[in-house]
Symmetry: C2
Subunit: 332 residues, 2 copies
Amino acid sequence: MTVTIYDVAREANVSMATVSRVVNGNPNVKPATRKRVKEAIEKLGYRPNAVARGLASKKTTTVGVIIPDISKGFYAELARGISDIATMYEYNIILSNSDQSEDKEIRLIETMLGKQVDGMVIMSDQISPGLREEISRSTVPVVLAGTVDETGLIPSVNIDYREAAREAVSRLLKNGHEEVALVTGPLDTTINRDHLLEGYKDALKDGGVGFDEGLVFEVEDSYDAALEAWHATDRRPTAVFAGSDELAIGVIHGVMDAGQSVPDNVEVVAFENTKLARMVRPRLTSVVLPLYDIGAVAMRLLTKYMSNEEAGDPAFILPHRMEVRESAKFDD
Amino acid sequence: MTVTIYDVAREANVSMATVSRVVNGNPNVKPATRKRVKEAIEKLGYRPNAVARGLASKKTTTVGVIIPDISKGFYAELARGISDIATMYEYNIILSNSDQSEDKEIRLIETMLGKQVDGMVIMSDQISPGLREEISRSTVPVVLAGTVDETGLIPSVNIDYREAAREAVSRLLKNGHEEVALVTGPLDTTINRDHLLEGYKDALKDGGVGFDEGLVFEVEDSYDAALEAWHATDRRPTAVFAGSDELAIGVIHGVMDAGQSVPDNVEVVAFENTKLARMVRPRLTSVVLPLYDIGAVAMRLLTKYMSNEEAGDPAFILPHRMEVRESAKFDD
DNA sequence: GTGAAAGCGCTAACAT
DNA sequence: ATGTTAGCGCTTTCAC
């Protein structure tokens, strides 16, 4: 029923070793026999069995990807970057959602290792000690994408979130605001807590403005949560730095509901720059998070580790920039 | 270096067959020896090699998923549904992007079959004859998700797009509009051409309104394209049925730019109901496309085919409904 | 340049 | 209840 390398060998009057050679592009085959073998392959419709090959060669040309939730635009964009580079290097991807559960993450790593992946790209809002432990025990290389490992030991690709946040808030401060709010997702994630919040504080310090805890709005990372938070508070900051485009839009609508205008009464700077940023009025001025690139670079890095190439500093930092639109009054 | 079933067998003083039995939960093992084996597994840190298992059993417990573009919300949502059910049935997923290229689609199917996937879920805006041919030659079951096969031969999961479109346009018509526009993505995709457009025409006929080609705006499926189309035309329809949330938002902003209001001057009904629908003002009234469910049901169907269960009608149709918000003046 | 043979780590009869 | 044995389809020395 299934045609194997033996069948091809018989058909072409050569040994299976020779068939294997032509299938794998080994140059040590006389052109004439190569031709015969190729014809036999064609004739029989032979398709190499990657599982058998994987068992014999101990390489599967597949990599595992663990992602919190592929249905979230943020991660989907990362995944696309990973996928494209994987395809370029002829790897396939086993993709699984972890929902940020440490349990699931660890179980996924185990099953992927069982499936003999050649490497893994992992995304997580928070590298728990258990997860870090599991990763460091891995028999194959692992790269983190858009995910910060506080120890800096696990290879990772990111931007300098803290500096990006500092710059954004500084520009707001330069516009003369006395009360700049931070609207952020849960502060139990590394990026929010140690990067966005700290960058926000850095900027306040730079600008000689005192930190006011009442101006930090920690909400669920959703449009509704930001909107509600704005409705609920009686603070009236005149500028906002939001931790995501969605949060920023929630704030904008909150401001509008209060009968005010963005950017005239309240300036808003977002963080992420998804396509959403252009689909609101006013359009969002947003720090650009190069998600696709982060994924792509992470995968590229992984290919280097998988072939034992030198890969340089494990903590890879990509440049960032700001896309200026109408939700804040910036000049360039 | 790697510990195999032999090592465990030796450690536990049993044969490899017994180890295999306890690993696979075969009841024919005395509790005492089962315990010994489990301890040996624990002690040695044994992890079954799924590749070897796959070669021996001819089952890999992985399914292939081909998707046009995972970074698009539409597909990402489908993928999540597929993934969750796959996980539930203990399958892993090999995920690849096709960018709708027939070439890539066919190549992906080939490499997935080479990797011995147990089945495949495929998404595509258009099942080309070449793709259909390739699918029908597949040695493992294939299910289409959110994808219409005109021949109806390939198992698929969808909603009745045409009827959903008809209902939406009919409700608009009932509000007394004389000019209802259709803003749709490219009409070279099956759903747009044979379902949305036809459903739109059905409704016009039902309502005794003539079809006016000038009221069909075929644009790229993006916010910008819809916005530009609205800016460019001098037609002033008072109601619009849009083929996606993004298109609907483009239309809404186009209407606003023209100094008019939604829904007072123009009523808009969208199709998709992503979370975007609630993030615009006015919020979108939208036909609900149960993307997650479509993916989930497709994967569930695939598990049936993979285990040779009876699966019923191959063309599975899920119910649809409309979510009424403010972009159209509907009562319920 | 080509062939023979020994695995890769497991499952699945078949014995016992 | 447990052990023996023959593959699964390929890669990879090692000979010739």
